[in-house]
């Protein structure tokens, strides 16, 4: 159980992210979570959206450098200490996390090298994996 993520290569300059977000608005694409990280020279912005394929087409048509990949999405109960608990499990089980970011506070995206392996490991752990449908249902509920 994983969710698609789109990564976009961007020079670290203001205005560049805006151009992409405007295109999403125009194409009626709903951004459910994102993270921007950079090395000082260039950055990668990662998005989880309601329609990854269409979003990717929009970006490609703009001439953007993009990559679509899968990430795990973990759903956390909305209680103090949950993030620490889940991260603790990941650390104990030696999962190699490349990066992680949160969508809404109780959903966090976790990028690992080997998704099936991670799923296997997490299956027996007290963590809840979410897929795109779960995210949609959850967000529709609070919207």
């Amino acid at each position: 159980m994983s969710v698609p993520q789109i990564s976009v290569f961007l020079e670290s300059r203001p205005g560049h992210l805006r151009r992409i977000l405007d295109a999403f608005v125009e194409a009626d694409i709903n951004v459910r979570g994102f993270s921007a990280s950079d090395t000082g020279d260039y950055g990668v912005v990662r998005f989880i959206v309601d329609d990854a394929n269409r979003a990717n087409e929009v970006l490609k048509a703009m001439g953007c450098a993009t990559a679509v990949s899968e990430v795990l999405c973990l759903r956390l109960p909305d209680r103090p200490g949950e993030l620490a608990r889940v991260m603790g499990i990941i650390a104990e089980r030696d999962l190699n996390v490349l990066y992680t970011y949160s969508l809404i506070s109780t959903y966090i995206a976790v990028c690992v090298k080997d998704i099936p392996h991670a799923e296997e490991i997490l299956r027996d752990e007290p963590v809840e994996l979410a897929d795109s449908k779960d995210i949609a249902a959850r967000l529709d509920g609070i919207a």
Binding site: F9, D41, A61
Partner: protein
Amino acid sequence: MTATGINEAEKIDVSVKGAALAAANAGKFDQLPIYDRAIECSSRERIRAIQLEKLIAQVEWTYERVEWYRRKMDEMGVKPSDIRTLEDVRKLPFTDKSALRDTFPYGLFAVPLDEVVELHASSGTTGKPIVVGYNDHDMDVWSDCIARLSQMAGVVPSDRVQMAFGYGMFTGGFGLHYGLQKLGCMMIPAGSGNTERQIQMIQDYGTTVLVATPTYALHICEVGERMGYDWATSTLRVGLFGGEPCPPGLKQEIESRMHIVCTDNYGLTEVMGPGVSGECLANRDMQHIAEDHFLWEVVDPETGVPVPEGEMGELVLTPLDKQAIPVLRYRTHDLTRVVTDKCACGRTHARMQKVRSRSDDMLIIRGTNVFPSQVEDVLTSIEGVTPHYRIIVEEVDGLDRMTVQTEIKPETFSDSFEEMDRFRALVAEKLKSVLLVGVRVQLIEPGGIERTTGKAKHVEDRRK
């Protein structure tokens, strides 16, 4: 059978897309047009004779009519009668940009302004512009040069030419316009900018020839691709480039993506404008100098002494029949080499190698000489980056630091800083092996480096 022995049925129609280049690649140069065969293919002896006759007259004209040159020559103790051979040109004073700037606007004019029919200017980076004027005769010579280079690329009178240069004071727009019109082409004066409209016009008017800077042509190409315009079936057949140097990698890319044949020409406002030399299809790295109109020398940029024929040096030009503003031995600061052997295309006029660097755009980085063209060569050899780049030089803690910004292609991107850093290190390594000095490489997103419609500004030197 025709007089040349070629069967009429075999005659290649160069107005067919791809035909001129195919004929050139097959060595069938007798099938390609030559605008003024009598002049462009005459013997070397005849060319030299024409040059000498014109040089003598030109020096007399200049000495008699332009005080600035008269004073210079008097100071040097040279009289027009001292010019008896082509080599005697070396007795004459050099001219550089400052002469035109110091005499702004009309100080070097040799004819009354009543006789001048057109004025042009080049912007220049500092101070006053360089102003040049042309009388009817000068305009004829100019058009002649343009008609020749257009035919070198396979342009014919039935062509429809879309001018995507800006008109205005810049010599590129009107210079090519008149020359192509003289050839008999239908001119479509689109001007620069509004790229989507440019593509619409190509479609609406059946444009066959595009005049543009190579950078802008690539931009038109990219915008067209994004709009879904099919360049393979487009009427467009030829690109005539100018306004900035066109590196081979960029030209190849435009040719294959737009399905056209592209040539570029060389020229400077100070000696006329575009058209001093033009590229034929026999050797895409060389340009035929219009030798009946220009006397060339190649000199050591430091000493001003001529280098042996075929060796690299600074190009010095003396226009041979320029009436409104005569110019003697103009220092172009462009580095090239010139050869005089006969070209496969049949033309006998000397050929200069395309100018890749200028004596004054050499950068000195921590004591090492670096030319932007070297950076360009390395980048074009790397899959995964586009031909667009920028060089930034700055001083950091008392040391020169050179940064090369290069645009990645969309497919180069992988969502891993590790891999991107590895790619960046590879680019840096390749640059270092050629430049012999370490550079910092910055990867830029596709389209992130500004496309300009004029001279692409590749270097930003922030030192001092």
